[in-house]
């Protein structure tokens, strides 16, 4: 072998080695980056608080729904030495934003069922009972079993009561019978509602869609059920046999004006008639007849399917307690809990805070509102324990992935001023897209679980 060819061979070998080394370096870099990401990710899941406040305060949280569990996790991390107690009999945790998808046959009911113990921190004492009495003068609550639980600070997150009794002739047992559906409350109701919608979209006839007056949780749900039912019938080519009527108790369809205008155009375009000022007052299940209170007097309408959305109110123990609004719109509407709408602190009892569906605020009975309210309530409670000013503010943020059909929707986010406040500026809140549907179908439940763990 000549000198030149040996040199060339050596150079070629060096090139090859250099290429391999370069490849290894890149792999190591990637592995390093992956390791760093995993460390950060692990840290996010397992991190201990860096500045937990030392306190011996007794904190009671009433209600282990989304707000209660998220608050328990945040308080457990933010406080060191506090005696935190959560009171709720329910062991089952329901992902309520998914009920619309169960009621329209898109999800199986099991997908929305979880367990509270998976999310509650071990340091929190869980009393499996319901609160029967709030006694804020004595700083204590009493459970249905008669157990007296004193507190220094109280967080009320009871959720709300769906008032089926407010509709004459209606009871939860009727859901799934006599062509009656109701998306709210639990997966059993939602599944039975799907059976009714399934039958209705196959057989056709008159479908009445209703909405309870006043504050209701997930106010988009009655609209989504209406539009998804219409979409299902269209897919099945039975749409022409359906006469669909949406009955609004007031003069609008949605509180956010732009979305309201969109829906007022969308419904007629999809041949969904709208009855304004029609509040469901009574139902005759066997006759398949509904009675609506209107400004012109009661109106009776026969139906082949009805989606019943009752009024909602604070649970009796809370609504009848001194913690409820004593007068004004929030008292008349549903005996909601009195809080300052920005600080989430009770206006008359300074050591009491509220979050979630039970509070009387102008808007905000959604899981998205809980995500925004809980950090405010928790921060302000911790600052109160520290004897500092409560500076955290809830701006009324709420969100509704308004599903207009299977596979598309609009991501609507707004605040107290009813201004759109999109989290992702590239997603238009004025136009139907597939992406909001994917978020609803795939991303919001993980986001909800992260919220329960107090991570977002």
């Amino acid at each position: 072998m000549s000198l030149d060819s040996r040199k060339a061979s050596n150079l070629s070998r060096k090139d090859s080695t250099a290429r391999i080394d370069d490849g290894r370096r890149r792999l190591l870099k990637a592995a390093g980056l992956g390791g760093a990401l995993a460390a950060v990710a692990g840290g996010t899941l397992l991190s201990a608080p860096t500045s937990a406040m030392q306190t011996r305060a007794r904190i009671v949280i009433v209600g282990a729904g989304a707000a209660g569990i998220a608050a328990a996790n945040r308080l457990a991390r933010g406080l060191d030495g506090a005696a935190i107690t959560i009171i709720d009999r329910r062991q089952r945790h329901l992902y309520q934003p998914g009920l619309t998808l169960v009621a329209t046959g898109i999800w199986k009911p099991g997908k929305v069922v979880d367990r509270n113990d998976r999310y509650l921190p071990q340091s929190v004492n869980w009393i499996q009972d319901h609160v029967a009495e709030f006694d804020p003068e004595a700083n204590r609550v009493v459970t249905t079993a008669g157990r007296v639980v004193p507190y220094d600070y109280l967080l009320v997150t009871t959720g709300l009561k769906i008032d089926f009794d407010a509709i004459e002739g209606m009871s939860p047992e009727l859901i799934g019978r006599e062509s009656i559906g109701c998306v709210y409350d639990n997966p059993e109701h939602a599944e039975r509602t799907w059976q009714m919608i399934d039958q209705y979209t196959a057989a056709g006839g008159v479908g009445l869609f209703t909405r309870g007056p006043g504050g209701i949780k997930c106010a988009g749900a009655p609209l989504k059920v209406t539009m998804l039912t219409e979409d299902i019938a269209r897919q099945r080519s039975t749409r022409r046999s359906l006469e669909m009527v949406y009955n609004s108790p007031g003069a609008g369809l949605f509180s956010q004006p732009d979305t309201n205008e969109f829906l007022k155009q969308e419904f007629p375009e999809r041949d969904i008639a709208i009855n304004w000022h029609h509040r469901l007052k009574g139902i005759e299940p066997e006759a398949h007849r509904a009675t609506f209170a209107t400004p012109e007097g009661d109106v009776r309408i026969d139906y082949d399917f009805i989606h019943v959305v009752p009024p909602m109110r604070a649970p009796d123990a809370l609504g009848n307690s001194p913690l409820a609004w004593q007068e004004g719109g929030f008292a008349d509407d549903g005996n909601w809990m009195e809080v300052d709408q920005f600080s989430m602190r009770h206006q008359r009892y300074g050591n009491v805070f509220g979050a979630g569906d039970c509070v009387g605020t102008p808007i905000g009975k959604t899981a998205a509102s809980v995500k925004a309210q809980v950090p405010v309530a928790v921060d302000n409670m911790i600052n109160t324990i520290r004897d500092r000013e409560t500076v955290a503010r809830y701006d009324g943020y709420t969100s509704c992935p308004l599903i207009t059909g299977r596979g598309r929707g609009i991501l609507v986010e707004f605040d107290y001023a009813l201004n759109m406040v999109p989290s992702f500026p590239f997603i238009s809140p004025y136009r139907e897209h597939w992406v909001p549907w994917v978020m609803k179908d795939r991303m919001l439940q993980p986001a909800y679980n992260a919220m329960l763990r107090g991570r977002i």
Binding site: R13, S16, T17, R19, I20, G23, R24, L27, A30, A31, G34, V40, A41, T44, L45, I106, A368, K371, A372, Y397, S399, G405, R406, G407, R408, E413, V421, S423, F426, I427, S428, R431, E432, H433, W434, V435, W437, V438, D441, R442, M443, P446, A447, N449, A450, R453, R455, I456
Partner: protein, 115 residues
Amino acid sequence: MAFSFFGILAVLLETIRPWLGLIVTVLAVDIVLTAWLWASRRSWSSARRPALLAGALVGVVTFFLAPWLTSARFSDLSGLLDWLSIVGGSVAVALLVAILLWPLMTALFGKRDRT
């Protein structure tokens, strides 16, 4: 409502939580394979093309299946946002699969380095 970096990370972790066992297994296999390939001085570059081809194939399949996997149809896609999302998502899946398959492809097709 703005999401912090850690907030987004927390949501992503909750998204993959049901498949965490599978993900850890795949990563463990990849790490073991990588260590073995490194020790046996295999050439990584010769397996790059098959890994990219496999990734591209999975990416194309993802593109066509994505609407169906989300209970939607192609007719539900509307505007630049949706199309960029589905194309971007498919490309991301393709790259991820290519990276994960690279060690396996190196084991199958990589030539032994003679140095």
